[in-house]
């Protein structure tokens, strides 16, 4: 027997193992390739054959490919045979070889099942091979992956730490949402494993689990937080890692950890942990400027003291982030900036290229907010531009962007142009090209004083070979020509030259991108043909046969603009009464246009044939001596204005237009229901356009134009009508005689041997010099007049940017926006960001329902209802994903609100007064104090979080309103926090429950600090105890409500054995523990020492919810004090209002509109007079007390929505007039509606 085993293993040892495979491949490949390549020269990758990564001759040399492909397919066949055997060692060997082949680019997913088999081997050796293969080739789409769940769970709980470790490592690579959900609990247990080796792996993998299964974040977070203080440095650093990564994505949820991290930062000596934490602070400071203030000092100390460059670099980076966040509120941190810039300069000057690179990288961050301090180091940056390292040059280019001014733009661009000529490699040249254009066009061509120069730069750039950015140059040409009116004449002349030499530009196929500039050139020449010197010549250039080799869209533009030119020429000729010439032009067109009619491009073809017919018609008319020029040019009358790219999106929806309404009733097809398009504004656009009247009449147009002018006049950004600083300077009395030097373009600029743009540099210098002289003269005169013989003014270069007058009267036309455009800039959020799901508040205490799924038998119900300790009602697991999602959403909303309350207190407390509990390094006393002014200045930049709160469908307007309100609210909370800090900490509120929270997202609106609202109302009170209660419905169970009762012991006795009993009615019953009769009470699960309060929850089952009802009940308890104990009782009357059956449910306006239209809702309304409260607060009150959410709000009118636990929809339209409020309601049940409205009336009457 033993011998047989030996034989088996000996047999196996002659199986090909990994080493043999590698050796075989090398024998078949590398020798051959080397030999052949020596013979045949150049080699390229072979695409035709399976061996993707091997090299063959330009046309695949079949023999070689064959040799290798054959060998590998032979190996794969062997592997397949081996996989069929029972012996696990053979299988593992096969899988090991497959892993190698995978690296070479072979798909091995067909062996997924075998890989799982090897993973489940009992021996560590094989298991490791299996997990490695799985980590290399499994992904979310692998279908057999769900088979691994139990195996992995088994391995995770294996006694051998290496089995567990290898499973964790493997899992980290292929974890799916399902695996994450099923294994989250197991992994969480491992976080407290005895071996640090396992602990650190478990901590690290939690990040992956969070990503795939965001619900696990809250339950697991407390333990993760614990691990920050793990005795093992590896585990600690893993925890820092995970939290930092989480915080980087959603920093605002982790602000409350700042004190903890601060403590770590000041105590840790581990540079890696320090780097991580410092990076994290960099992400947090934008959210909380006070944190930045607190950080500056220790960071500056670190910068001074550390010797580790990496730490220094990260410190500088974070200080920069702090400075950026403070830049608005704090005027004076120039010392810190100076320090940073100084340190960075040292880095940049270092001989180590890596440090140089990083220095430049950090410098570019400073540049954004403190350009002045960086500009001082211009020399250094320009020097780096000459560096041999491309990465460094690119970084230096980035910096240049912020260093240009009117004064040095030409000089810098000239330098860049020489680089363009020298650059090898198209990537870098393309980068240069885009940078040149970026630099010149930044902030509305702010730095360009001479647009002729810019146009000639653009024209020079067209001579670049093989650039990918032809369209960019074209776009710039178009933009400048359209927006700078003064330049059009010059631009047109340049463009016509370009068209004339089109063969140069479009000669080789390589330049396919650069020929885009011809598109621009043709359009400019056509559109502004009145400026053309020799239109006829340009026309002929555009009709050359060569043009038909251009891409279709360019041909189309050619055709269109040929007609524009034609119109211009006709007009010219007819004015000169040169009928002969006019007819010749027509003839030219008739002859040449047919070449476009044959174009393969549909657009070009269609336009050409249209225009050909038109021209033929004109020819007929001309033959009859009819003047046609007027009519032909009428085709192109009017001027085109630039329109902002986002303009279309920002057109507000006109009143009364319902974009969601059907234009035609949809076909009663079931399909259309399924694929209901999401109502995103863009998608609606075409429909929107259709509904518009086709042409606005003349008067209307005129009126609009007038309005626009008015608006532009008031718009500070509209350069056209508001004088620029330079112009104001010119207009100032006494200086208006300074001539603006106009460069006459008819003066030939053709200095041989010099590119055009250089001439402009010279000319510009001369011009400025003249200007300066003149100014000097003037100044001198003035001074001499003032104090004769005094110190003379030096004629050194002291001109500042503002002194340079542009050569042309620059008329940069801003882009037009539609009237009443809504200024919202939040259209760039990616809704598919996986990290958004992790945007979860972590400060809220865990609810019972938030548990990680524990492994159970398949058929057991998971208790996910918000059950309380005292009630053991088992309910069916709701499998509907929709509900689950909804619940999740609600939860998050609730969390957000809750967080603000609690975090506000904790963090404020830390930020404002206390020093961190255990800072080993003594901190300067100033550290502890906070300038009083700061709190007022905190209107924290909440942009980011708001963006995330936003759902796609939400109304931008509403968003605008929320912005100020939330900030104010925050401030308010902070004030409260401040007040409370000298007293004792406020008592913790009762645990929050669903529906208790004010809705935040399209929910409640807040503007002014609201009066404290509590939904708890007094139930009963005596000398021993005070009871307050609140009733909440839950959407999960359609006939249950939860009554939360806060019991407060008001006596000096100890209250125990509390029991609550209620006299059930037909309609409402108390849910009692199983097996108890209707007369038994329900015990309260706690005892109350004197002065303590606690909350208990009781579930009631309600049959009909349309009417309010009252239940009588009794609380019995034993009060015990020194003198003995007495049995006491307290009667109460529970009031179930109809409101309490409503559950805050978000509703989008489209769904809301649909609901109203459906017509099966009954209507009712109430009106309340004498209300002085603001509408904002009013809505908040309704939202809070009656569980509504705001769907939409327009001025003093809002639509609101809520849903009962039994699924009745309740829609409200709340209108506020002078001193009165009217509420119109629609609901699927009229009784419910009238009751709700009655209750609402009562609430409102109290306002």
């Amino acid at each position: 027997m033993a011998l047989k085993m030996v034989k088996g293993s000996i047999d196996r040892m002659f199986d090909k193992n990994l080493q043999d495979l590698v050796r075989g491949i090398r024998n078949h490949k590398e020798d051959e390739i080397l030999r052949l390549s020596r013979m045949e020269g150049l080699w390229r990758p072979c695409r035709e054959h399976a061996c993707r990564r091997h090299f063959s001759n330009s046309i695949c040399s079949l023999p070689l490919c064959h040799i290798l492909a054959k060998y590998i397919s032979q190996c794969i066949d062997e592997i397949k045979q081996e996989l069929k055997q029972d012996n696990i060692a053979v299988k593992a060997n096969a899988v090991c070889k497959l892993t190698y082949l995978q690296m070479l680019g072979y798909d091995i997913s067909w062996a997924a099942f075998n890989i799982i088999e090897v993973m489940s081997a009992s021996k560590f050796t094989f298991k490791r091979i299996g997990y490695l293969a799985a980590s290399q080739c499994f992904h979310e789409g692998t279908d057999v992956i769900m088979l691994t769940t139990n195996q992995i769970r088994k391995d995770l709980s294996s006694p051998s730490q290496y089995d567990t470790g290898v499973a964790l490592t493997g899992l980290s690579c292929f974890v799916t949402p399902d695996l994450a959900r099923d294994l989250a609990n197991d992994i969480m247990t491992l976080m407290s494993h005895t071996k640090p080796y396992i602990r650190k792996k478990a901590v690290l993998i939690m990040y992956k689990v969070f990503l795939k299964y965001p619900e696990s974040l809250r339950p697991a977070f407390p333990r993760l937080k614990e691990k920050l203080e793990d005795p093992d440095p590896g585990v600690q650093s893993a925890a820092v890692n995970v939290i930092c990564e989480l915080a980087r994505r959603n920093p605002k949820n982790y602000l409350s950890l700042a004190p903890l991290f601060f403590k770590l930062m000041t105590s840790s000596t581990n540079n890696w942990v320090l780097i991580k934490i410092i990076k994290l602070f960099g992400a947090l400071t934008p959210l909380e400027p006070r944190l930045g203030k607190k950080l500056i000092e220790p960071l500056t100390n670190l910068i001074h003291s550390t010797s580790a460059m990496s730490l220094l670099y990260e410190c500088v980076n974070t200080v920069i982030a702090v400075l950026i966040s403070l830049s608005s509120g704090m005027p004076n941190h120039s010392a810190s900036i100076q320090l940073c810039v100084q340190k960075l300069r040292i880095l940049i000057e270092d001989s180590d290229q890596n440090l140089k690179y990083l220095g430049l990288l950090a410098m570019s961050k400073i540049l954004r907010t403190h350009p002045k301090s960086v500009q001082a180091h211009k020399d250094l940056v320009l020097q780096c531009l000459d560096d041999k390292d491309e990465s460094i040059r690119l970084r230096a280019l980035d910096l240049l962007y912020g260093m240009v001014s009117k004064k040095n733009l030409m000089e810098i661009v000239k330098k860049l142009m020489t680089h363009v000529d020298k650059a090898e490699g198209t990537t870098y040249r393309d980068e240069l090209l885009t940078k040149i254009i970026d630099i010149c066009s930044q902030s509305n061509y702010q730095h360009i004083t001479n647009f002729e120069w810019y146009i000639s730069i653009l024209v020079e750039l067209t001579r670049l070979e093989g650039t990918r950015h032809g369209h960019l140059i074209a776009a710039q040409m178009l933009d400048v020509a359209i927006r700078v009116k003064a330049i059009r004449r010059f631009a047109v002349s340049q463009m016509s030259t370009l068209l004339d030499s089109a063969h140069l530009v479009a000669s080789s196929t390589q330049r396919s991108s650069i020929c885009e500039v011809l598109y621009a050139a043709a359009w400019i020449c056509g559109e502004f043909s009145e400026h053309l010197q020799e239109p006829q010549q340009t026309l002929e250039a555009m009709l050359r046969p060569k043009v038909t080799t251009l891409p279709g869209h360019i041909q189309a533009v050619y055709v269109q603009n040929v007609v524009k030119l034609y119109a211009a020429i006709l007009q010219q000729k007819e004015q000169a009464a040169d009928a002969q010439a006019a007819q010749e032009v027509t003839q030219l067109l008739v002859e040449r246009l047919p070449q476009f009619v044959q174009s393969a491009d549909l657009e070009a073809q269609e336009r050409a044939s249209c225009i050909l017919q038109l021209v033929k018609h004109v020819q007929k008319l001309q033959a009859r001596d009819v003047p046609v020029a007027e009519e032909v040019s009428a085709l192109f009358a009017g001027e085109l204005n630039p329109v902002a790219p986002k303009a279309q999106k920002k057109v507000p929806v006109p009143e009364g237009l319902d974009l969601d309404a059907w234009i035609n009733e949809p076909l009663s097809d079931s399909e259309s229901e399924d694929e209901k398009p999401k109502a995103i504004f863009h998608d609606e656009e075409p429909r929107h356009a259709k509904q518009r009247p086709p042409e606005a009449d003349e008067q209307e147009l005129a009126r609009r134009r007038e309005a626009r002018k008015q608006e532009q006049a008031n718009n500070p950004f509209y350069i056209k009508s508001s004088p620029s600083p330079q112009k104001r300077y010119q207009d100032a009395p006494g200086v208006d005689h300074i001539p603006v030097v106009q460069i006459d373009l008819s003066v030939p600029l053709k200095v041989p041997g010099m590119p055009m743009s250089d001439q402009y540099v010279k000319l510009e210098e001369e011009r400025r010099h003249r200007q300066r002289l003149e100014k000097d003269k003037r100044k001198r005169k003035k001074r001499e007049r003032e104090r004769r013989g005094a110190r003379r003014h030096t004629s050194l270069h002291t001109e500042s940017d503002e002194d340079i007058t542009p050569a042309q009267r620059v008329d940069i036309v801003t882009e037009e926006m539609p009237e009443n455009a809504l200024p919202s800039d939040e259209d760039d959020k990616d809704p598919n960001d996986p990290y958004r799901a992790l945007d979860i508040d972590l400060d809220k205490p865990l609810a019972d329902s938030e548990k990680l799924p524990v492994q159970k038998h398949r058929d057991t119900e998971t208790s996910k209802s918000p059950e309380r300790q005292d009630v053991t009602v088992v309910e069916k697991k709701s499998k509907k994903p929709k509900r689950k999602e909804k619940k999740q959403k609600e939860k998050e909303r609730e969390k957000k609100k809750k967080k603000e309350a609690e975090k506000g207190v904790d963090l404020d407390f830390w930020l404002s007064t206390t020093p961190p509990a255990a800072t080993p390094a003594p901190l300067p006393p100033g550290f502890l104090q906070e300038e009083p002014g700061v709190n007022a200045a905190v209107t924290a930049p909440k942009e980011e979080r708001r963006g995330e709160e936003q759902d796609a469908g939400e109304d931008a307007e509403q968003d605008l309103e929320k912005k100020p309100s939330e900030q104010k609210k925050k401030k308010h909370k902070k004030d409260k926090g401040e007040r409370s800090k000298d007293k004792k900490r406020p008592k913790k509120r009762a645990p929050p429950r669903e529906g208790d929270a004010e809705p935040v997202q399209n929910g409640a609106l807040r503007e002014e600090p609201l009066p404290p609202m509590s939904s708890y109302s007094l139930l009963a009170e005596n000398s021993y105890i005070k009871m307050t209660y609140d009733v909440q419905g839950s959407l999960q169970k359609d006939s249950q409500v939860t009554v939360s009762m806060v019991l407060e012991n008001q006596s000096s006795s100890f209250l125990k054995n509390m029991e609550l009993n209620v006299l059930d009615s037909l309609n409402a019953r108390l849910a009692r523990p199983e097996g108890s009769s209707v007369h038994d009470g329900v015990p309260v699960p706690f005892q109350l020492p004197p002065g303590i309060s606690n909350e208990a929850q009781f579930v009631f089952t309600i049959q009909s919810i349309v009417t309010a009802q009252k239940l009588k009940g009794t609380l019995s308890f034993i009060a015990k004090n020194d003198e003995g104990s007495t049995h006491e009782k307290l009667d109460f009357k529970l009031h179930f209002t109809c409101t309490s059956y409503l559950v805050t449910t978000p509703c989008y306006s489209d769904a809301f509109a649909k609901l109203l239209e459906s017509g099966d809702l009954s209507m009712s309304s109430v009106k309340v007079d004498g209300i002085s409260m603001s509408f904002q607060n009013l809505l908040a009150k309704i939202c809070f007390h009656h569980h509504f959410s705001v769907v939409e709000r327009v001025d003093s009118c809002a639509s609101m929505y809520s849903r009962s636990i039994q699924g009745h929809h309740v829609c409200l339209l709340v209108k506020k007039g002078e001193k009165s409020v009217s509420v119109d309601g629609k609901c699927s049940d009229s009784t419910l509606l009238s009751n709700v409205l009655e209750e609402m009336k009562e609430t409102l009457a109290k306002c």
Binding site: M5, V6, D11, M13, F14, Q19, D20, R26, N27, E30, D31, L34, R53, C96, T99, Y100, M103, G105, F124, T125, R128, E140, S160, Y162, V166, L168, T169, C173, K200, L204, Y207, G234, S237, A238, N241, V242, C244, E245, R248, T269, N270, W272, V273, I275, S305, T306, S307, M309, S310, Y313, E314, S351, D352, Q353, N354, L355, L358, D389, E390, I392
Partner: protein
């Protein structure tokens, strides 16, 4: 000998002096015939780890107190690639799912970007189009015949990753004893195992070399003990294979069991 660059934020443990051939020379004294033979087969053989990092700064004395070895906090490492001077992949580990074709493309592109760079330029590179886009950086080091490339996202500490590469290579050197490209070629699985102790799911797990080596040794021991009876002959055979004997017995007879030795053309 190996020395941490001046900006290094952790210290390498003292190294034992190692006798051995000078760097970048072929390794004639390498143990085992296979190694020598494979060298002739065209693979690389320069010793990897023995090459001193090329930064000029490494010679600079480091002032200030030395800090204990630490662990890099990591954000996300997207991929780790090792390929040789000809672009042949020696190890590829992707922490984001890509199809095999894309993986090969990424390797090719990365090689293309990295290989054309001079020796004395910085180790950071932007512009990998395939992997990740603008947020990501390639951070690489070139040792003898091999490129070690880490593709990381923007939140990563650049210098930290450079150190991590150094630790990786030193660990390989310790585990393979005078590591050279051939070790990576023939034992890619072992390299994966070592890497798994350092980086997990795209996050840095451990950077203390001693700790990594301890765990690897323990796992190897476990593996050996599992092989037991069956392991011994297998090891023997692999030794035989590596010996490249001109004549291998065609038949092995042990008692009544006769084992036919297959033709081994591929061993040649």
């Amino acid at each position: 000998m190996l020395r941490a660059p001046a900006w290094s934020c952790f210290r390498f443990p003292p190294r034992r002096p190692r006798p051995g051939p000078a760097l970048s020379k072929p390794c004639p004294a390498a143990p085992g015939g296979a190694r020598a033979r494979a060298c002739a087969g065209g693979g690389g053989w320069g010793r990897i780890a023995s090459e001193i990092p090329r930064r000029g700064s490494c010679a600079r004395p480091r002032p200030g107190p030395q800090l204990p070895p630490g662990r890099p906090g990591s954000a996300m490492i997207k991929a780790i690639l090792i390929f040789n001077n000809h672009g042949k992949p020696r190890l590829s580990k992707f922490y984001q799912p890509y199809s095999e074709d894309t993986q090969q493309q990424i390797i090719r592109e990365t090689f293309h970007l990295v290989s054309k760079r001079d020796e004395n330029v910085c180790n950071f590179l932007e512009g990998g189009l395939l992997i990740g886009g603008s947020d990501n950086k390639l951070i690489y080091r070139h040792y003898a015949t091999l490129y070690f490339v880490f593709c990381v996202d923007s939140s990563e500490s650049e210098l930290g990753i450079l150190d991590l590469i150094q630790v990786f290579v030193e660990t390989l050197d310790k585990c393979f004893e005078n590591v050279c490209e051939l070790d990576l070629i023939f034992h890619v699985d072992k390299v994966h195992n070592i890497l798994a102790e350092m980086v997990m799911g795209g996050m840095v797990l451990e950077t203390n070399m001693n700790e990594i080596v301890t765990q690897i040794d323990a796992q190897n021991k476990l593996e050996k003990s599992e092989a037991g009876l069956a392991g011994a002959p297998a090891r023997a055979v692999s030794a035989v294979k590596n010996m490249n004997l001109p004549e291998i017995p065609r038949n092995i007879n042990i008692g009544d069991i006769s084992i036919k030795v297959p033709n081994l053309p591929s061993f040649k």
